[in-house]
Symmetry: C2
Subunit: 118 residues, 2 copies
């Protein structure tokens, strides 16, 4: 699977609020299917389906405990790729914010030098 396809799979997996909530839960520690199903009020097969999508996207994996088969978050895996993808866009809005900030600073200084109220 090439990188672009993997990134598409990751974004696709993240395009569901339940799957995002599962990831947020797993960020706090591993959990079994029944532990995950309970707070959402979903049947286990529904949760299992979501878990499969998350697993195929490489976002989660099964823990070592063979009996309980807990799921855990893959730290710094595909989510890091999303972060890397966001990089150039983040730079742009930060640059824009910096430019806005220095513009406001200039205006403030101008008003001050004219003796106007701030």
């Amino acid at each position: 699977m090439n990188k672009e396809t993997q990134l598409s799979d990751v974004f696709s997996a993240l395009a569901d609020p339940t799957r995002r909530a599962i990831l947020a839960r797993l960020a706090e520690g591993q959990a079994t299917v029944s532990e995950l199903a309970e707070p959402f009020g979903f049947a286990q097969p529904t949760i299992s389906k979501h878990l499969r999508v998350l697993e195929q996207a490489g976002l989660i994996q099964q823990g070592r405990d063979a009996q309980r088969r807990p799921r855990r978050l893959v730290l710094g895996g595909p989510l890091k790729e999303v972060d890397v993808w966001l990089g150039p866009f983040r730079e742009q809005w930060e640059r824009r914010f910096d430019a806005l900030e220095s513009l406001l600073e200039q205006k403030k200084n101008k008003r001050r030098s004219k003796g106007e109220p701030r």
Copy 2:
């Protein structure tokens, strides 16, 4: 539209390599439909369809030039929401990385104090 639904729409819009490439192109500056269609070798209706998805997700908007109707990136809009959503996960993998780094540092120092080669 609530925030979760909007975030789902954004992730869904990003789950396509052509749409991601369009965003990357628009990050360099605004472009018309024909300017966007050319490098991808797609027909204009195909590009227009992708642009509609991106526009509905709030990722791009139409510029002010009514005749050319260039599209431009919405800076710090929904992509910033994606960045905010990533925050807690980023913290986790950075913490993990820091822990790993300090472990390696400890091992190095131990070897040094024993007079072993680095």
